[in-house]
């Protein structure tokens, strides 16, 4: 286990000014974006280079000490929650953009580079499509760990579709290169397996990203409807007409009220639902499609078309502020990230409403309507006895309703520590055991981000997999009951 000698070694590697052990300073790192969970690690180390990351991981391996990697700490599933007996490896100093190759659409970055910085580095002609709401602060390393999405992923895809290569430090300190700037390298697609593995397979120290030309035209509107059901029908019509909007986002009345209060974007606070539709692409194609979308929104109570970039930003400001604005509705909220098949939207929203009423709590709904990714915000007041527990129970029932409708427990926030208890609602034991095989191939000692993703702790045996028939059974001599 870790002791003074490990701390000494970390100080030698990263410099003592980059090793945090003081109680008060450790508090900065005890939670990520999900504040419901907190744990103080033994130490926080902030390596300054890929080489230092390798040395830190190797030192932890030799000291048999678990570790957790952290980017900006903006994650919403507790994925970067420290382990108390372990080291937190903060990658915020690795923020160099190492190569920008616009002709080939590639950028090589260190993990601490922010998401927005990649688009800035290749702008104005190109951009990096994944755009989580936290993109100003969140890091590419974190995006890789969580396979982050964002408002524009219905059309453009997720982080995993834009990572072509990784340099990774495995939990035993070995360095491996997975993929590279070129696509389809020989062998298994370990890049695909690594992206979205929530920091449990190793630390990416260099990341090759694919960037693409920016569309020449963007058209944005927001339509207001009397209900989410009505707005949901319009979403289905748009998609079934073969239109693939760059983004299509919905907010319900409670979210509209909160966001409008915070932003004064001009959303009518009595609207039952707001639907933001953004088309992008070529000028001609965009215009034809946009007219079609306006036609499909003809039954809306009102439609506002962005006349310029400033108005587009205003429309988006309300949507992006929805989470932060929830403080106006209740002192605390619990955000979920479930996904449903889009065609089940009306039914699932009705269920959420019933469940909320039964729990005497309010639930605001903000969602990526194109891909069915809901962000129900369960509002509560932690100061009122029993309300936090009721909120948590309600949140769990909402997740279950989404899984029952054929969906997922998480669309973009990750499982982390927060949703691991829901994993058995989606996956059976053989599925979980199969996940564990991948983890064991990378991290047989279980030191990378332990306690995350899997619902119960697991070890890596020598021979993985479930039951194997005993020779006596094979011979028909014995049976297994």
């Amino acid at each position: 286990m870790a002791d003074g000698s490990l701390l000494e070694r970390l100080k030698q590697i990263a410099g003592s000014e980059h090793v945090v052990t003081h109680e008060r300073q450790l508090a900065t790192y005890e939670s990520d974006g999900l504040l419901q969970y907190a744990a103080k690690p033994l130490a926080v180390v902030l390596p300054g280079s890929a080489e230092e990351v390798v040395a830190v991981v190797r030192a932890c391996h030799e000291a048999e000490t678990p570790w957790v990697a952290r980017g900006a700490g903006s994650g919403l599933s507790g994925g970067a929650l420290p382990v108390e007996e372990g080291v937190l490896i903060a990658l915020s100093r690795l923020r160099r953009i190492l190569e920008v190759d616009v002709p080939n659409g590639r950028v090589l970055v260190e993990p601490g580079v922010t998401n927005i910085a990649v688009s800035q580095a290749v702008g104005p002609t190109h951009f990096f499509p994944p755009d989580p709401s936290s993109q100003i602060v969140c890091t590419i390393g974190g995006n890789v760990a969580e396979n982050s999405g964002g408002a524009h992923c219905f059309k453009y895809g997720f982080t995993t579709n834009y990572v072509t290569g990784l340099e990774v430090v495995l939990p035993d300190g070995t360095e491996v290169t997975l993929g590279g700037p070129e696509l389809d390298q020989p062998g298994y697609d370990l890049v695909g397996a690594f992206v979205g593995s929530e920091g449990t397979l190793g630390i990416a120290t260099r990341i090759w990203l694919r960037v693409i030309p920016k569309p020449e035209a963007v058209r944005t509107l927001v339509a207001f409807f009397d209900s989410t059901v009505h707005a949901g029908e319009v979403v289905s019509k748009i998609v079934s007409e073969g239109i693939v909007p760059g983004a299509i986002e919905m907010m319900d009345n409670l979210s509209i009220r909160a966001a409008e209060g915070a932003t004064n974007a001009g959303y009518p606070i009595d609207a039952g639902a707001a639907l933001v539709v953004e088309l992008d692409g070529s000028e001609a194609e965009c215009e034809t499609r946009f007219e079609h979308v306006k036609e499909l929104c003809r039954d809306a109570d009102s439609v506002r078309v962005a006349q310029d970039e400033a108005e587009r930003e205003l429309i988006w400001r309300a949507r992006k502020a929805a989470f932060a604005a929830m403080g106006r509705i209740a002192p605390n909220y619990y955000v979920q990230d479930s996904v449903i098949p889009r065609t089940r939207l009306a039914e699932v929203l009705a269920t959420i409403e019933e469940l909320a009423a039964a729990h005497e709590l309010q639930v605001a709904n903000v969602f990526h309507a194109g891909d069915g990714n809901l962000h129900p915000l369960v509002c509560y007041d932690a100061a009122k006895p029993g309300e936090a527990e009721r909120a948590e129970e309600l949140a769990g029932l909402i997740v279950q309703a989404c899984v029952d409708a054929g969906g997922s427990i998480t669309g973009e926030h990750g499982v982390g520590v927060d949703k691991k208890r829901y994993m058995p609602s989606m996956f059976d034991e053989p599925d979980l055991a199969t996940f564990q095989r991948l983890r064991c191939a990378f991290d047989p000692d279980g030191r990378a981000n332990p306690g995350k993703v899997m619902p119960t702790p697991r070890l890596c045996g020598e021979v993985p997999g479930p039951y194997r028939r005993h020779p006596l059974e094979q011979a028909g001599v014995a049976e297994r009951f």
């Binding site: 969580e146 070129e182 390298q185 062998g187 053989p430």
Partner: protein, 362 residues
């Protein structure tokens, strides 16, 4: 190779695989049988386990643009069904007889990859059978989902060496009502590459930029699709003309793209993973070796085809490029898989040992 009876259910397939695992008999999975010559030769004692009995289209959720298919479903059959709803699975590899399982297991792609990605981008969930009797699933059937590890990506392109793919969930896309393709003719590799790059670097929303090259000349094919593709095609035409290419717009363009797909097959085909700016070097190398090239210019992927197979041609390409050999004569003495860094290879080996503990999936 012994051919086992085609199991009718995934459980039966899993049992057959488990039995092979217990008997330590090597197993190779067979879908449509179109790419059996791609992986390294199997040991003589190998059993061939077919997915021909797994032909159910389990779900087609037209409203959600998703589908669930058993591995043995012929891709063409699934496409015919999706087409009735104006949709498709945006995978268009060359072989008409290929199954969805085989396409995913081989990671094979056609021209649509430029716009929609490959199997790794379109498969959203997967069920697999492993050599120790495990039947497991990952992902789901919604297009956005980050719960659990992405086992589907690991099995995509694995050629069945980790276990059998028995079912996949896929994302579908609407079929665009109209298409138009701009052709740009060139007689020098740099001109051709400039023509392709002019479109690839522009904000035009193309549905694929291919090149076809043989004997010191070739053309760029840039496809546009949508409600009104013509204006984009005309803009692309102007870009290529400015680079000195002789241009033409073709609206009845499907035969052009069939040709591109067909060019990915041949007596010897080497797939090259490169970057768009290295295209001229590749074209010159292919010319020197007597090969022809079909390429996805914006992706940096190319297929070099040789009418007269030789191991030297593969070695020569391998000196400058990342390659895998696809079609080839059985007696050609080449390693189909190009070199892999030892540390990476060791990690791949550990993955293989965990997923195929019996070590029988070859």
């Amino acid at each position: 190779m012994h051919v086992a009876e085609a199991p009718a259910t995934r459980e039966e397939l899993c049992s057959a695989l488990t039995a092979a695992g217990e008997a330590a008999t090597p197993v190779r999975f067979r879908g449509g049988g179109t790419k059996l010559g791609w992986p390294p030769a199997a040991p003589p004692s190998t059993i061939e386990l077919s997915t021909a009995g797994l032909t159910r289209i389990v779900e087609h959720n037209a409203g959600d643009l998703t589908a669930v298919l058993e591995a043995g479903v012929p891709l063409a059959e699934a496409q015919a069904l999706f087409e009735k709803a104006g949709q498709r699975l945006a995978l268009d590899p060359p072989d008409r007889g290929a199954t969805i399982g085989g396409v995913v297991a081989s990671g094979d792609t056609g021209p649509l990859r430029g716009r929609y990605g490959g199997p790794r981008d379109l498969v959203v969930g997967m069920r697999v059978a492993l050599s120790d009797g495990t039947l497991a699933k990952s992902g789901g059937k919604v297009i956005k989902n980050v719960a659990g590890y992405d086992i589907a990506k690991l099995f995509g392109g694995s050629f069945g060496t980790l276990g059998a793919i028995v079912e996949v969930s896929v994302r579908l896309h609407p079929i665009a009502p109209h298409t138009a393709t701009v052709l740009g003719e060139a007689r020098d590799p740099d001109g051709l590459a400039r023509g392709a790059a002019a479109i690839g670097q522009s904000p035009l929303e193309h549905h694929g930029i291919d090149v076809a090259w043989a004997g010191g000349q070739g053309r760029v094919l840039a496809r546009f699709a949508g409600a009104s593709p013509r204006p984009q095609a005309e803009a692309a035409e102007r870009l290529m003309a400015a680079e000195g290419l002789g241009t033409e717009i073709v609206e009845d363009d499907e035969p052009l793209w069939d040709e591109q797909r067909a060019a990915q097959r041949g007596p010897l085909v080497v797939k090259v993973s490169s970057l768009p700016t290295r295209l001229p070097v590749l074209l010159r190398t292919a010319d020197a070796l007597g090969g022809s090239v079909a390429g996805r210019a914006a992706l940096g992927l190319s297929w070099v085809r040789f009418e007269e197979p030789s191991a030297e041609a593969v070695e020569r390409l391998r000196r400058d490029f990342i390659t895998v050999v696809q079609d080839r004569p059985a007696d050609l003495d080449v390693d189909p898989i190009g070199p892999i860094d030892p540390a990476t290879r060791a990690l791949m080996q550990r993955v293989k040992e965990r997923f195929d503990p019996a070590g029988v999936c070859v």
